[in-house]
Subunit: 61 residues, 6 copies
Amino acid sequence: MPVIQITMSQGRTVEQKRELVKVLTRETARILNAKEDGVRVLIYEVSKENWGNAGVLGLDM
Amino acid sequence: MPVIQITMSQGRTVEQKRELVKVLTRETARILNAKEDGVRVLIYEVSKENWGNAGVLGLDM
Amino acid sequence: MPVIQITMSQGRTVEQKRELVKVLTRETARILNAKEDGVRVLIYEVSKENWGNAGVLGLDM
Amino acid sequence: MPVIQITMSQGRTVEQKRELVKVLTRETARILNAKEDGVRVLIYEVSKENWGNAGVLGLDM
Amino acid sequence: MPVIQITMSQGRTVEQKRELVKVLTRETARILNAKEDGVRVLIYEVSKENWGNAGVLGLDM
Amino acid sequence: MPVIQITMSQGRTVEQKRELVKVLTRETARILNAKEDGVRVLIYEVSKENWGNAGVLGLDM
């Protein structure tokens, strides 16, 4: 039943997202001894003005 | 004080969202013996390339 | 594929959680024209010292 | 390592987001005796049809 | 209506959480020109074996 | 800057969590062409009475 939520900068290709879903599902199921069928992946894309690190907006890095 | 967060495929109508907010708030308050006033609902819409199930991207289903 | 995440005060009974999962799944599927099979519900319980409203800690209300 | 996630109505300026990231990071680090370097802030913007309070859609308030 | 969710290492005092809720609410309302009444803060505490940075478990740092 | 949040049933070993953090960080960084240094992983453990699938509580499966 693992649910994986990824928040990342927008702009990745469909191919990257397809591989991300495939690989994270496979590896998580393998490590946790869970079924791949039960793994759900959700991707939240945020623009550079919507995240910050160490107090600095992504846009300003 | 319950906060309900729903992640779902984009494309639902305003009317569906209005009913979702109304019904989930009412039912959650009823079941938990909480006040409707304190229930917050947040909806996160994701495109078909931003979620996956069982290792397969929504776009490919 | 809706994923519903509920953050609420701890201390509810198993029976309340069972009904919450059942009813929110049924109503969400009905309103969104989705399959109940695809609805996932996750409950996060927080103690009164781990949430606040209007700047006041739950513990102090 | 605190991760701060803010869900808010869309439409704020870049300047507001820049200050939000700067101030929340600084205050969180100060209060928790943590390093600013380790604080991550993520902003999720939702439209008025994607949130509700007390059972009422933001759009209808 | 901002909802602020903080995930942090467990072990902080009630006093720290009280100040965190108070200050983050006040500053967020001020910067966003929102009412303090509408700000909700949720704190999720995780143990050192439940988070990682740069591929290393918190427990091993 | 990817932030990965995993909600899963409680009861996994530290060794499983260590490998989960290591592998998900490595694979995510590789697929997204991001630095491993910027990847944060957060694990939320929930008991069987705190999640449901298809309307059924985990405890009842």
